[in-house]
Structure formats: structure tokens, C-alpha cells
Amino acid sequence: MRGRMGTLARHALLLALAALYLYPVALMVVGSLKPDALVLPELATWRGLFPREVSLQNYRDVFERVDFLRFLGNSAWIAGATVVLGLAVNAPAGYALARLRWRARRRVLAFALALLVIPFEAVAVPLFFQVSWLGWRDTYTAQIVPFAANAFSIYLFYSFFLDLPRSLEEAARVDGAGPLRTFLLVVLPNARPALATCAVLTFLTQWGSFLWPLMVTSGERVRPLPVALAAFHTLPPLAWGDILAFAVMMVAPVVALFVLFQRWFVKGAAYTGPRSGQSRGAAQRPQEGRPDDV
């Protein structure tokens, strides 16, 4: 009986914590379905979560008042292009650092890692000058290119490729694949967990990015959702239901994507060694005194 009580208490605690964290999200969703006039007054009451009536009027209002689909399209293009470009750049970079032997490898790796500690805000202004000088203000390019190469992604790929058994690549070489085909046909397909992780993280960062797009965009043409939301907020009349509806529509695609990708996320590296579970990679093989070069 004691054990059961303990389980009950534990579940109660977990539920309470979950409620605490989900409360704002629930408020957002419920608020978006209520008449504008009732959102703020009922906020702190139980009616905040259990409205008398619900409708999609706020959503219709958003589409009438601004070109929401344009902002959604902008965000999707910017985030999507950064993901694709980022994978195309960061995966080979991580591979080169992990596997190829070249002179400044160690130093470049250390340099890339050092970049991790620099907050974006610190480089925002110089980057702005650079982008202006290139004539990229008010373009998609300004919002995509600076974020393609990413120190964290490179590091993630680097450490992933380090753990990938070397014998796979060696087998591909002996089987007749050159370095490029080895990378594309054998290494990349086995890097799916790293690819998915990088894709999701890059996408989320770009989707929620606010400061930089605010700096480099002035019109609505290339404006992404976060900046559009801020602008919508200041667009009279002040209608909280509409703002929350805007916010829900901004979050929904990301949640959907995450649910979709989660399967990939969780799936571990699928290397199959001599017997399942005990992967005996080249890393554990006697390398007969081969030192790591500098």
C-alpha cells in the first residue's frame, strides 16, 4: 500500500509541474479562441482556461489584417534554406576535422570551439556592417548565409564522425569508392542521427530568431514571423485574441515538425558490429602505435 501511495504522490508532483509549464501554452491556445474583449479580463480566472464560447474569428481576423502567409513563407524559406545549406557545409567540415589529416586541423578545431562561447549579440553589430557593405540588407540572403556555417553543428558532426567505425570507410575505399563517394554513400547515410539533430536545432533557432531579422529587414517583403508578430502587436487596434492566434499559428508548424522528426532524433547510431550491441570499431583496434598528427 505504501508503494502505491508513493507512486500516487510522485505522479501528483509530476502533474503539478507539468501544469505549471503548460499553463502559458494553454492560455495562448485558449486565448486565441476567445473574443478579444474577454482575453485580458478573464486571464487570471478559471475562465482563462475554460471559456464560455470558442470561435475561430481571431484567426480570420489575423488573415484579414496582415499577410500572414507571406511571413510564414518567409520564415519557412529562411529556416529551411539555412538547414539545407548548413548541413551541406557543416557535415563536410566536421568530417574533415574528424578524419582528414591536414596541417592546421587541430588549430581550426580549437578555433571553431572557441566560437561557441561568443554570444550572437556580440557580433550582431559588426555583422550588420558587413551585411550592409555586401548590399544584403532587406534580403533573404542576409538572414540565411551568416547562419549556415555553425560552430556547434560542426562540433556535433565532428564528434559523431569520430565515433563512426573507420573500417566502414576503409571498406568503401577497398570496394572501389573514392573519397567523395565514400562520404556521400557510406558516411552520410550513417550520420542520420547527427543530421537530424543539426537540422532540428538549426531550424528552431532560425524560426525563433528575432534580433537579427529586426536589424536587417525594414519592409514586409522578407520579414519573418517573430518580427511580424512584434509588428502586429503594435498595429492598432490592440486585439489580444488576434495576437494569440498569430502566436499559435507561428508555433504550430514547429511542434508538428518536431513530432515528425522525433523518431529520427531518438534512433541511435545504427552501426552493426560483429554482434548486435557490441560495436567493435576500428577505434578499439590496435592501431599499432599510430599517433594523432598535429
Binding site: L168, E170, V174, G176, L185, P274, R285, P286, G289
Partner: protein, 375 residues
Amino acid sequence: MAELRLVGLAKRFPDGTEALAPLDLEVPDGGFYVLLGPSGCGKTTLLRLVAGLETPTAGEVWIGGRRVDALAPQARNVAMVFQDYALYPHMRVRDNLAFPLRMRGVPRAERERRVREVARLLGIEPLLGRLPRELSGGQRQRVAMGRALVREPAVFLMDEPLSNLDAKLRVEVRAEIAALHRRTGGTFLYVTHDQVEAMTLGERIAVLERGRLQQLADPDTLYARPANAFVAGFVGSPGMNLVPARVRAAAAGPEAEAAGAPVRVPEGQRAVLAAHAAAALTLGVRPEALRAGPAPAEAAWCPQGRCEAVERLGHEQVVWVRTDADVRLAARGQARERIGAGEALALWAPASALYWFGPDGRLLAAPADAAGVPR
């Protein structure tokens, strides 16, 4: 198929370790050669040099009359079976087998035909649609072999392909590899640390130690006339007993003593021993030539000691003896007699079983009837 020729092949790693001292080796077309040695002896490095996965410091690699040491692995037309099989985890068995053909631009229909052929040869047809992770260890091993066989390379390289299989499966697959070699007539270079594997598979065995070739010989010669004390101690299960010996020149011929017991030097070995009197020699006796019990007239050496341990193998047993002179000896014989640990034992060896090794470890004298005519 083609012959493989290594000329002065050497490898030194950037930190100065000599992984392989300059080595010459010639594997004839269709030959099955085994590289045998303890781990770290350079055998895997040698194989990787042939495959092109390492760059030699010096020397040449010739395959079928073509010099390949400057070529990339994919240009050498060799196939390799890796110790961990290195199957591509994301490809089905069918695609794993077809990969080398795909890389060489073999048309699809031809690819499918050859994959099916190899799958039939190895009995893995029902597995073609599976992923490597859905296979057992033995099945994976077979797929790895299939991937090497499928494109009929000039030379097959095998890096301890059986070391990840359990003992029973290892014996089965060993026989399969021998059969495959007979059937394909391919040129095989096979790396192992397991001397049973080497003895049963190899036409000739190259024993390596610390990057140096110790002996290249057929299995019988390797066993009967080991080139030096290392080979004698490495080959055999357990290896040859090696006992420090003292030799004195006397009027009636050389007198020797090992492990506290005098050695009656046989007629045929006297001249050699007399020439090395006073040097620190090593007496070698195979465990199966060392017997327990009262010494008969033909006994040439009779050390005394205490039994340390007995390994019973069913039909046989290995008795480990610590002699009174503190030398450890192994005696292998029929398991009829029960010997307990701690029991005092008298051992003896016939004159026809004595090997002598010089101060540098080189074989000085072998029993007169030691088999194995050098081929």
C-alpha cells in the same frame, strides 16, 4: 586472379615506431598465405599496406605484374574482409554485396546476377533482403566474405575474419574458407593470431614478430623445423618448451645440462654443440615429446619437478611442471593417468626430440628425423 609480390616493404609510423621492417614476400597466383603472429607484430599493418589503407615508408607492392603501391585502394583491385566485417549498416545484404560492383559501374542486370551467384555459393540467399543488424554473427561474416568475392578481385585480404565467431562456428567457417579458396582459385593473404587457423588454412605461413619476418614455411616445416626460438614457442599448443642450457666441451664430446638435469647429446648434434660450447644455448622440447614416468633407456633428458596444474582436454591432458631448477615445462599426453597438483614428477624426453637454439635464438640443431623438407 594474380600473384602478389612485396619487395622491401616497410612501414614506420610518424612517431618512429617501426611497424614493419623491410620485408620480401611472394604469394603465387592462387596461393593461400597466412600472416601469423601475436598482436602488435605488424601483420595487420602489412595487410593494410597491400590494401592501400596505409602508405609504406619504403618498398614496392606488385599485383599481377603491376606496381600498385602508389595507387589508391580503389585502384588496386583487392578485396578485404575486415575483422569487424564493416558491413554498411544502412544497406540491405543485397546492396552490401552489390556495392563493389556498383562502384565499378557494372550494369544492373549483371550486378544482380553476380550477387545471386555469390549468395548461392555462401548459402545466404534468404538473407538478401535483410539489414546487417538483423543478422547473426556468422551470417554477417558470410556477407562480408560475399562482398569480397563478388567482384573477383586479384587478391583477397582477410584480417582475422574468424576472431569474432564462437569456437564451434569458427571451425565450420574455417572449413568453408578453405573450400572457397579451392573453388575460386583466388590468391589469399590471411591474417591471424591463431596458430590453429594458420596451420589448417595456410599453404605457407609467414610468422611475424615485432615487425620482422621470422620464418616463411609450410605448416609442417614450421612445426618440425622452426627457424628460431620465437617460432618454436609460438607455434604449437602449448608451444615448445624452451629451457636455458649449459654446454661444456669434454674429451668424450659436448656435455650439456638443462633444468638441473644432464642432457645426453645425440650423435648427430654433437658437432654443432661442440662448436657452440660455453655459449648460452636453449634446449627445446615439444610438450608431446616430454613424458611423465620412469625414464627408459632411450631417455636423453630427465628433469624432475612438481606438478603445478593439469589441463584435461578429454582425450589428452597438459601437465604443467615446475622443475627443481625453477623452470616451467609443459608435457602433453594421454589423459589416462590422473596426476594431482603438487605431486612430484619425473619427466623424460627421447634423444629424437631435442632442438637446440643459439644465443641469438636461431635454430642450431633439430632432431635428425624432423620432418618437413624445405619447399
